[in-house]
Amino acid sequence: MTNEELTGLLQALPLRQLHDLTRGRVHRHFRLGKRRLIEVILSLPPESRSLLEVDVLKPKRQSPHQPSLENSPQPFVAKPTQKKGRGKAKLSASLEPPITVSELLDGLGVPTAQPFHADPWQIEAISKLATNDVIASVPTGSGKTYVAIEATRRALEQDQTVIYTSPLKALSNTKYMEFSQLFGADRVGILTGDRKDNAQAPLLIMTTEILRNLLYDAASGQIDVRLNTLGLVILDESQYLADPERGVVWEETIIFCPSQARLLLLSASIGNPQDLSSWLTSIRAVPCHLIHHQNRSVPLRAGYLHPDGVMVPFFRTRDITKGRGFTFHPETKRLLAQYEGETLGHRNRR
């Protein structure tokens, strides 16, 4: 194919499809506009260019994974991993009329103050800690801190030492202040690499690395913190286990955590909490109890805000449902097509 022929073909394609074509072929393709993309495509090495030409010539088919936003008259339904059997439910869902903006924004406001009632999962987590290690994998903002605080309170009442770790110094500092207010400054200590403030306190805050080091020192017989009375170790934001550089520290900490201490792992975003729980059960003295749910305590809705300030719902339905694919709101689809058209025009004019 000559450069002119290919340029012609590419020009005729919507931007979205150019991105699909260049995905994996052009570095950072999503940062480029149409004209730049075409230039880059033309300068591809011969092998990848010929592969791409094959793709360009392929009859246009709506692949379920990368649907084109333009020219799709029927409601646009993306089905990431949809099986045939689900088809019916899907169809009826998309036949319901799309919600309106006022429905989207309906019910917005500030609830009146309510007396505090712990959630069932919070109570479950706290009580299970008496006999089990616990993983609480619940959405952001659910109240994991409450579990940490109450579990700490119980351990302190029994004269146990409690260690709270977080991955970030910033978070440790926030918790240090919060816990000092709750339990009294004299009962809370904080450990960093070079500083030990109140290291003999029954509640110690530190980063996970510091705890790991402490456990190594203890294993080789040089204890300088009261680990023999350690009753509870809280690992906040434990999804850091998956961090490429630091994840290993969480594993070391869990492997060497003294067997008499209970482990409390808190996290919002883990895809396989069951695996984590089975792992803990397989290596720890007591079984691990998993608390896992996806229900947000404050419902979340999604909107689309156009650069000109127009706001429309993002999905057809008001609530964001998990694991059942999604359908864009027709208005979002329309505005987005317009956006792509106009930003394209904007670029071409330059």
Partner: protein, 619 residues
Amino acid sequence: MPPAIHPVQLVEVLRRKQLTPAIVFLTSRRACDEAISAFQRQEGSLPPERTQAIATVLEQLAVDYPSITGHPLMETVAQFGVAAHHAGHLPSWKIAIEELMRQGQLDAVFATTTLAAGVDFPARTVVITQSSVRKARDFSDLTVGEIQQLAGRGGRRGKDFVGFVMITPSPYIDLQVLSKGLTGFPEAIESQFVISYPMVLNLLKAHPLDHIEGILAKSFAQFQLNRRVDVHQNSLDTIHQDMRPFGPRVCTDWISQWQVYDQARRRHSQRRPASQPDPPGTAAKLPFLTPGRVIRVSKGFAVILRQYRSRGQRYPMLSILRAKGTMTESPAMMVNHIYDHVLEFTTLRAFPWCSPTTLSHLTHELTQLPSNLPVLPVLADEEQQNEESLTPVLTDEFACPTCPSQPACRKDHAVALRLRQKEKGIIKTIHALRTGLWLRFQKKSHVLHKFGYLTATSELTSEGDWARLIRIDHSLLITELIRMEAFAAIEPALLAAVMAGIAHDDDRPGSYQRMSPGLSTMLHQVRAVADSLASYEDPPLLRTDVAALTEQWISQPTLSWANLVRKTAMAEGDVYRLFARTIEFLSQIQTLKISHPSLAETAISAITTMRREVLEELP
């Protein structure tokens, strides 16, 4: 229409629809700062009582964190009720913004996605303008977990009936990625267990060598490897089922017999010279280098299309497809990693070894691979050698031609051999998965022995006994420098400067700094040592500008933070992080009180001088 909504207009819309307070996630620190400058160019301001309330909170916080006083953005925050929050700011400033946000005093905070995890920072609305982030010098799509961490900050318990996530397009956005992130389930955690030198030393300090394998087996890494073993075990069971009809015949191992016979017969008739045996490393890899296998070559992922050996070539070759979509021929020994991941496809006998559609499909698959794909540990073993280079034997030494089982063997041999090769491959894989961690441990301990930190029986030497206390990145470099007395009688400023050079792993640009001749020489030496250790440990960046900046901070105790920051193009927050990390490194040296008392003293003195002004505000 502008390519993205103007920040001032964005906040206006959010205010009008009562969607404040909001967190607006932007792609870069610069974008956050520019959003704030856009407000500074505006007329209007908040009602005076709100401005006053914000100013009061900031004043109160300034009692504990003096660096907040006189912050250049203080007035803007109070006047417009908006702020920026990113890693370029000092921790004290971030604490102030977080506190204001918790109290509901701000309408919008423009933040980078580093805010995503761990900071207690809720709002009614979260605005998302991007679908990718810069990770390790490259842009990659946000993961489902990350998108949910971002969006999850929308809706404060007890303060909101509902929370919102507002998506606004910019040239950097892919709505598919975001929609999947909002409606999908977060990714599974994959273990990132790595065995480091300090880990080996500390394990061997506390446990006898024969306990170590058991301890490693307790890792989540091994737990997940065992899961993969189970899968392979299942396919092994299936293969054993399929192999039932091919059990012992006239000779017990008729498959090998026939193979040797068959090869000998052909060789005999063609009189081809016996092929050279492959080097052991490559030989062990060969059974895994099959079509569909994902591998790493020098420049990234690739998938194998076929394995072959040309007449003139001594070594086996691979036809591979790279992630860029290019097809290349590569000697099998150039493969850096073999992954435990196979892309299924139908092979063809002729170029390009599969259909063009498959090619593009494979290319796409390659780009979708996670960067932390599990590596298949391949063990080189001796048995393999013999098998690969079957010694040519003459045909008349075989009983096959006259054997009653001959017709059956001839018929079944191809199928049976393929099954058996598959079986062997899987058994190898299982073995590798079971012993991989232990093997890596042994490799590391071997190096430590070579350097004299471990005895031949894997006990800590006197050197190893203190070296285990250095539990940071580049530990080998640091302990080697200590052993070669590079730090003997060193000034605190110089020690800290070198540690800063080793500790700092950020490549955001700084500015040229004046440094003492002593530091200059010292950095040269350190670099030489680091390079000589390169095959055992990745060398640090050793940026001279950050080393020099650290040296100035310590050697000039009257230098103020404001003046220091003015000397460099680095953001204040980055300088703070550099110093905090340097203190962390120095504090490890400080633990060598018993073995290296004067060096530990120097470290303490460096830390004490470093901790002033801003660096004293937080533990």
